[in-house]
């Protein structure tokens, strides 16, 4: 029993010790006039202040001293009216709860500051509980505290500052405010150990922290931006009279100024500010700046600002999508099994219709179906989407990639261009296709000279095919060696080369017909390919082997791929010796006559002079 009573006493002592510090919570608070903001009000305008409403009823500018009648409401119930001016009647207090301080009355506008009486935290612990013995000194904020002695009457503490020394006796729980900037709180005086447990307090400060949330970083022209401004108070005392000002050079901020009563420490408030992205023909960045201003209980101003940049797309945007479709069995032209459906989606986010030109350049192996060109002039209505859709058939199997569609339009005399997003997918077209190419060597020959014909066949499809090559030999040629026909199987990607040699006694420009390959794939799909027709020039005079060599070396090359070079002078080999001789004689005579004009004139002139 005794043991339990002793424990209870100890518990009570511990609780009382702890409660002494809990009592100290009260000294952090003060009943003070809290600055609630500054307002400029015209007659009829009002300021909302935490349940109070201050309304300017009338403004009298006619007298020497301008005056106004202010009405005070609590929860929209009229309570009292005040006559105010900027001189003797500038400060009015309603029921020790609301203080109105009129700064000026000019041009019909009443400028006033509003204060609310409130029990609010002001003091913040600066030096936490510290135990000091007699003679110990601590310093804080320009003040020096020394425990001079501990007696039965209490602890004698000497406080020193620039203003001098102050000595006082403190009991447990006593506190003293030395100025508006410093307070001493003696928590416990231990007379036995002659120690003092104390703490110091100083006024706290609010601190504005701002952060922006925009949802996404890129917006369409004219789109509503999800702009959220998070304002937090990272300080130690409440913040009052918050004003959030938002501005942007390009975007349309619909609520540029927002007011908020206050923000307690460690609290945050989210402001939703409606902003519309600008309507622009070119993509660009916009900058949005928010400035937050607030006040502490004394009216000291604190501010913070935050800026963000957002990307705005042009009001015309385009996207391109490709869909690969299976051909019907009956309609498998070009030896391919699939075709493409190409969709271009045009979006106009502006509030006006716009005529645009859309160009979609296709791979040369793709043929647009039922279209003359892949260029369209279309009108896209305001805030609407327009789709251009067409089909394209691949002429060969293989892999296909697509370029971006290009959209052009005019705005304000300038032309703007955008491209659709890239189509990165590679589309594979299945099918059967054999290409055939025919070459001659040499392209220029003499009668009786051997001409080598090379025919290359390549299966560029993805299926095995049975192919038949037929390459006719014109009657003026005779086959010397090799075979001009071939029949066999070509694997996917496989190739075959046929070489044969011809000879002719004919002269002039001779035509060699195109080689044809007919093929049938595993699915019994048939197709054929034709090479280009070849031309051979045969000289009309039998020449020596030296002449032939010289001609080939100087005029033509063995490689048939360079045959196109002859396109510069295609008629050259047709000139016979007589024609050439005639041409040379005429050229010589022309030169002679041209050069002889001046001497002839001079001759005639001189003869005439001397006559």
């Amino acid at each position: 029993m005794m043991m339990a009573a002793r424990k209870l006493v100890v518990l009570i002592l511990i609780l009382s010790f702890l409660s002494s510090s809990a009592d100290a919570h009260d000294i952090h608070y003060e009943n003070i006039w809290i600055f609630k903001g500054m307002y400029e009000l015209r007659p009829g305008e009002r300021a909302e202040l935490d349940g109070f409403t201050v309304k300017v009823h009338t403004v009298d500018m006619n007298n020497g001293q301008p005056s106004a009648i202010l009405l005070v409401y609590i929860n929209k119930d009229f309570k009292e009216s005040f006559y105010v001016d900027a001189a003797a009647n500038s400060e009015q207090v309603y029921n020790d709860e609301l203080k109105i301080d009129v700064l000026a009355i000019s041009e019909g506008i009443v400028s006033l500051e509003a204060y609310r009486q409130r029990y609010e935290q002001v003091w913040i612990t600066s030096i936490a509980k510290t135990s000091l013995g007699v003679g110990d000194i601590i310093e804080d904020g320009g003040y020096t505290l020394q425990v001079a002695g501990v007696t039965e009457e209490g602890a004698t503490i000497v406080a020193g500052s620039d203003e001098g020394l102050t000595e006082d006796i403190y009991l447990s729980g006593d506190h003293r405010k030395f100025s508006e900037e410093f307070m001493l709180h003696v928590i416990y005086v231990n007379r036995k150990s002659r120690e003092v447990l104390l703490e110091t307090l100083r006024p706290g400060k609010p601190e504005i922290k701002t952060d922006i949330l925009t949802g996404k970083s890129t917006y369409d022209s004219g789109e509503n931006i999800e702009y959220q401004l998070m304002v937090g108070n990272n300080g130690t005392i409440p913040l009052h009279g918050l004003i959030v000002c938002t501005s942007s050079s390009e975007a349309d901020v619909q609520e540029e100024k927002i007011q908020h009563a206050g923000l307690d420490p460690a609290k945050a408030k989210k402001f939703m500010i409606p902003i519309s992205a600008p309507v622009t023909p070119v993509a660009g960045n916009i900058s949005i700046v928010s400035e937050v201003t607030g006040y502490d209980y004394k009216g000291n101003q604190y501010s913070g600002s935050v800026q963000t940049e957002l990307r705005v797309r042009p009001y015309i945007s385009a996207s391109k999508s490709i869909e690969k479709l299976e051909k019907l069995t009956m309609d498998r032209d070009f030896g391919t099994d699939e075709y493409f459906r190409i969709s271009i989606l045009l979006k106009n986010t502006a509030g006006f219709p716009k005529a645009v030109t859309v160009t979609d350049e296709l791979d040369p192996s793709l043929i647009p179906y039922d279209l003359e060109s892949t260029e369209w002039a279309v009108l896209v209505e305001a805030n609407s989407v327009k789709e251009i859709s067409y089909y394209a058939k691949p002429t060969t199997p293989g892999n296909f990639t697509f370029r971006n569609a290009v959209v052009q339009w005019k705005d304000g005399g300038k032309t703007y261009t955008i491209e659709s997003g890239p189509v990165e997918e590679v589309f594979q077209i299945h099918g059967s296709m054999v290409t055939v190419e025919k070459y001659l060597s040499p392209n220029y020959a003499l009668p009786g000279e051997e001409i080598k014909i090379t025919v290359n066949m390549v299966n560029i499809g993805d299926r095995k095919v049975d192919a038949v090559l037929s390459d006719e030999i014109p009657p003026q040629f005779s086959l010397v060696r090799g075979q001009n026909n071939w029949e066999g199987t070509l694997e996917a990607g496989g190739s075959e080369q046929i070489i044969y040699t011809l000879v002719t006694e004919e002269t002039g420009q001779l035509r060699l017909p195109a080689a044809t390959v007919d093929f049938t794939d595993e699915n019994e799909q048939q197709g054929s390919s034709v090479s280009e027709e070849m031309l051979l020039y045969v000289e009309d005079m039998p020449g020596s082997s030296q002449e032939e060599k010289c001609y080939e070396e100087m005029t033509y090359t063995e490689d048939a791929g360079e045959y196109t070079e002859t396109g510069y002078e295609p008629e050259k080999p047709d000139i016979g010796r007589l024609k050439a001789a005639g041409f040379m004689v005429s050229a010589f005579i022309t030169l002679f006559c041209t050069l002889a004009i001046i001497p002839a004139v001079a001759y005639l002139y001189i003869n005439k002079v001397y006559e």
């Binding site: 020449g543 002078e569 050259k572 050439a580 040379m584 050229a587 030169l591 001189i606």
Partner: protein, 134 residues
């Protein structure tokens, strides 16, 4: 290879031009003109393939491929140059001959003996210089 072809063509044309000039100086201007025409003409008639191939051989392409320069162009250039030399040689020779005669004839009665003597001395001096050079 192209460079060698150009060197070969240039040597051929140089030989041709020097031959024509030699004949012009040593034999006759009319014969040199005839050779100027006849040599290429005979080449075309006798070896048409080779000659045409030679004349049509392209050495250069000027102005981004717009102006090709073949051996034929070089032949025409050589022709025009040598023709010019031959024609003006003939003309100047005639002028100097006929002009001197006519001038001498027209001023015969009026020219004093001193002037005639001076002219004769000048002509003789010129002849001496030419004889030394020749």
């Amino acid at each position: 290879m192209e460079f060698l072809a150009f060197i070969g063509s240039a040597m051929l044309f140089a030989t041709f031009a020097l031959t024509v000039l030699f004949i012009l100086v040593m034999v006759s201007s009319r014969l040199s003109m005839l050779i100027l025409l006849v040599v290429p003409l005979l080449a075309v008639i006798i070896l048409p393939g080779t000659t045409l191939a030679f004349l049509s051989y392209r050495h250069f392409l000027f102005a981004d491929g717009l102006v090709p320069v073949n051996n034929f162009h070089i032949l025409v250039t050589v022709w025009s140059t040598l023709l010019g030399i031959i024609i003006y040689t003939e003309f100047l020779t005639w002028y100097l001959k006929s002009g001197k005669k006519k001038l001498a004839g027209s001023q015969k009665n009026r020219s004093p003996a001193q002037i005639r003597g001076m002219l004769n001395r000048s002509v003789l001096k010129a002849k001496e210089i030419l004889a030394k050079r020749g």
